[in-house]
C-alpha cells in the first residue's frame, strides 16, 4: 500500500527542483530591477541639481554673482552692457504669489471649514469632485481665461490697468490653488477627533465657535502646511503668468503694472532663438536654480511644519 500512495511532499519537492534554477533567478533579478527603478527617482533629483549647478556656474563665469544678487536691473537682451540683476524677477514672482495667496487662503480655508464642519455628507460628495475638476484643468486654460476674461473685467473696474498686469494672473493662480488648500485643510480638520467637537458643543458653543476655537487650532499644522505648499505652487506656476503677466521685468510692488516672473523669463528665452552657449542661454539655468531653491525651501518648510507641529490625539 505504501508504495502506491502518491507522496505530496515528494511531488512538491520534484516540482521545486525542476523550477528551482529559473525561479531562483527571477526571485533574485526582480528586486534588483525594482531597486533600479527606485534609484532613478534619486537620479532625477541629482540630475536636476547638477544640471542647474553646472550651467549656473558657467553663467557666473560671465556675470558676477554679486551683480546677479544685488543689481536691481534685468535687461539681458541689451546688445551692449546687458544687465543681469535677479531682483525684478524675484519681486514679480513674489508679487504674483502674494496676490494669489490673498485670494486662495481666505476662500480655500472658508471652503474647507464649510466642507468639514457644516456640510452634510451629500453636499460633500457632490462638491468635492467638482473642486477636483477645478484643480485638474490645465494651466494653459487658466492663462487663456485670465487674458480674455479676468483682465478685461478688471480693466472695467480699475480704469488705468494695463493689458498685461500682475493682478489678473495673481487672482487666477489664486483660484487655481483654492481646491488644493481646501482639500488639504479639510483633510487636516477631518482628522480632529469627533469627541473634541462634541465636548465643545455640549458646553454650549455654536458651530462657528467650535470650528474657529477648537477644530482650527487643533488642525493648524496641516492648514499652515497647505498654505506653504500653495505658495510654492504659485511661485512655480508658469503659463498663467507668461500669458497674462507680460514680459517687463519691473522692480515694483504695484499690481496694476506689467511684471515678469522667473518662470515667464525662462519661457521667453525658450521661445526666442537664444543660441546654445550664449550668456542668455545660461541665464535661464541661473534663474531656474533660484526658482528651484525657492520652491525647495517652501516644500521643506511645509513638511517640517506638518511633522513637527502635528497635534496627536
Amino acid at each position: 500500500m505504501q508504495k502506491d500512495k502518491v507522496s505530496i511532499a515528494k511531488l512538491i519537492e520534484d516540482n521545486k527542483k525542476k523550477n528551482r534554477y529559473k525561479q531562483g533567478l527571477i526571485e533574485k533579478a526582480v528586486p534588483i530591477f525594482l531597486f533600479i527603478t527606485a534609484l532613478i527617482s534619486i537620479l532625477t533629483t541629482i540630475g536636476i541639481v547638477f544640471t542647474l549647478l553646472f550651467e549656473t556656474v558657467t553663467f557666473f563665469d560671465r556675470v558676477k554673482i554679486l551683480d546677479f544678487i544685488t543689481s536691481k536691473e534685468w535687461f539681458p537682451f541689451f546688445e551692449q552692457d546687458p544687465k543681469f540683476g535677479i531682483a525684478p524677477l524675484i519681486s514679480g514672482t513674489l508679487l504674483i504669489a502674494l496676490i494669489a495667496m490673498l485670494v486662495a487662503i481666505p476662500i480655500g480655508l472658508a471652503a474647507a471649514i464649510y466642507l468639514s464642519e457644516y456640510a452634510s455628507d451629500n453636499v460633500r460628495r457632490v462638491v468635492k469632485p467638482i473642486l477636483e475638476v477645478l484643480a485638474g484643468i490645465p494651466t494653459i486654460v487658466y492663462g487663456f481665461f485670465a487674458l480674455t476674461f479676468v483682465t478685461p473685467l478688471l480693466q472695467k473696474i480699475i480704469p488705468g490697468l494695463s493689458f498685461f498686469n500682475a493682478l489678473s494672473p495673481g487672482i487666477v493662480i489664486g483660484i487655481m490653488i483654492i481646491p488644493m488648500i481646501a482639500s488639504l485643510s479639510e483633510d487636516a480638520m477631518s482628522a480632529v477627533p469627533r469627541a473634541m467637537r462634541e465636548g465643545a458643543l455640549a458646553l454650549g458653543s455654536t458651530k462657528l465657535e467650535v470650528s474657529l476655537k477648537v477644530v482650527l487650532p487643533a488642525a493648524l499644522s496641516g492648514i499652515i502646511a497647505s498654505f506653504v505648499l500653495g505658495i510654492s505652487r504659485a511661485i512655480g506656476e508658469t503659463m498663467i503668468v507668461t500669458i497674462a503677466g507680460g514680459s517687463s521685468p519691473n522692480l515694483t510692488f504695484n499690481p496694476t503694472e506689467a511684471v515678469q516672473t522667473m518662470t515667464a523669463y525662462i519661457v521667453q528665452v525658450s521661445l526666442g532663438d537664444a543660441s546654445f552657449g550664449s550668456t542668455i542661454y545660461y541665464s535661464i539655468y541661473a534663474v531656474g536654480m533660484t526658482l528651484f531653491v525657492f520652491t525647495l525651501i517652501m516644500n521643506l518648510i511645509a513638511q517640517f511644519i506638518s511633522k513637527r507641529f502635528r497635534e496627536e490625539y
Partner: protein
C-alpha cells in the same frame, strides 16, 4: 446655584447664533465661488470656441489665417508624446512603488527615496524642462524630438504614479498575501499573481490622472523646444512635434482676437480629451474594484 448667570447667557445667545448663521453663509459662498468660476470658465470657452469647431478644425494644420487653422498636428503630437511617456513612466513609477512597499527594508535609504519623491512632486514643471533640455536634448543628443519630450514628461509624472501606486499596494489585504505564501508561493509569485491584480484599479487610476496632467502640461515642452508652428504629423520618435497646450498657447499669444476664438476651440478639444481620460479612469476603477 449661581455658577451660570442665565440672563447674561441668554442675552448673548442671539448675537452668537446670528453670527454663526451669517458666517456659515460666508463659508458656503466661498465654497460655491470655485464652482461659479468653473461654470463661467466653461461657458466662456464653449461660446467662444464653438464657431471654429468643425470637421476642418481636426483635419487642418496650423495656419496664418484663423479660419483655416486646425489642430491635427497638435492632437497627433500629444498622442505620440503619450505613447512615449506612458510606458516609461508606468515601468519607473510602479516599479519604484513595488520596491518601496514590498521589498525595501525600513532604513535610512528607503526614507531618503520616499522623501525624495515627495520633494520631486513639488518641483516646478519648468525645472524638469531645464533638466530635459540639458540631459535629453543636448547630452544624449536626442534633439527637440518626441522622444526627448516624452522622457522629460515621464520624469515629471513618475512621482504622481509612485504615490498613487503605493497607496493602492498598501491597501491590498495582508491576509491574501499570507495565504499565498502559505500555499508555497515565492515572493515574486505572490506579488505578480495576488498583490498586483488586487492593486491594479488603484494603480490605473493613478496612472491616468498622471497622464492627464502630462497632456495638459505646457512649460517643460516649451523649454526643451517643442515647435509652435507645425504642419506635419510626427513620423517616428525622432520627429519634431507640437502638443495641444503649446498650440493653444501659440494662438492665445497672437494679437488678433480671431485667434483667441481658435484657441478657445482648441481648449474645448483639450478639455474633452481630459474628460475622456478621466471617465476611463472612473470606469476602470468601478469595473475592477467589484472583484475584491
Amino acid at each position: 446655584m449661581g455658577f451660570i448667570n442665565h440672563e447674561k447667557v441668554a442675552g448673548k445667545m442671539a448675537s452668537r447664533t446670528a453670527k454663526n448663521s451669517f458666517v456659515k453663509g460666508l463659508f458656503l459662498a466661498a465654497t460655491l465661488f470655485g464652482l461659479v468660476v468653473l461654470a463661467i470658465l466653461i461657458y466662456r470657452i464653449i461660446t467662444q470656441g464653438i464657431g471654429y469647431l468643425d470637421g476642418d478644425f481636426f483635419t487642418n494644420f496650423a495656419s496664418r489665417r484663423p479660419e483655416n487653422a486646425g489642430i491635427k498636428a497638435a492632437i497627433f503630437g500629444s498622442i505620440w508624446l503619450m505613447a512615449v511617456a506612458a510606458p516609461v513612466s508606468i515601468i519607473l513609477g510602479v516599479g519604484c512603488a513595488i520596491y518601496l512597499e514590498l521589498y525595501a527594508k525600513k532604513n535610512k535609504f528607503t526614507r531618503l527615496i520616499q522623501m525624495n519623491i515627495a520633494n520631486l512632486a513639488g518641483v516646478p514643471s519648468i525645472v524638469f524642462g531645464l533638466l530635459g533640455l540639458t540631459v535629453f536634448v543636448r547630452m544624449l543628443e536626442m534633439g527637440r524630438s518626441v522622444l526627448a519630450g516624452g522622457l522629460t514628461m515621464s520624469l515629471l509624472i513618475v512621482p504622481i504614479i509612485v504615490v498613487a501606486s503605493q497607496e493602492a499596494l498598501r491597501a491590498v489585504s495582508k491576509d491574501i498575501q499570507e495565504a499565498s505564501y502559505g500555499l508555497g508561493a515565492t515572493k515574486w509569485q505572490t506579488i505578480r499573481r495576488v498583490v498586483l491584480p488586487a492593486a491594479v484599479p488603484g494603480i490605473i487610476t493613478g496612472v491616468i490622472l498622471a497622464l492627464s496632467r502630462a497632456v495638459g502640461e505646457t512649460a517643460p515642452l516649451i523649454v526643451i523646444g517643442a515647435l509652435s508652428f507645425v504642419a506635419f504629423v510626427p513620423e517616428n520618435i525622432w520627429s519634431g512635434f507640437t502638443v495641444m497646450p503649446i498650440q493653444i498657447f501659440n494662438w492665445t499669444s497672437r494679437p488678433q482676437t480671431d485667434f483667441h476664438d481658435v484657441a478657445a476651440a482648441g481648449i474645448v478639444v483639450l478639455l474633452i480629451m481630459l474628460l475622456l481620460m478621466n471617465s476611463i479612469a472612473v470606469l476602470i476603477r468601478n469595473k475592477f474594484s467589484k472583484r475584491y
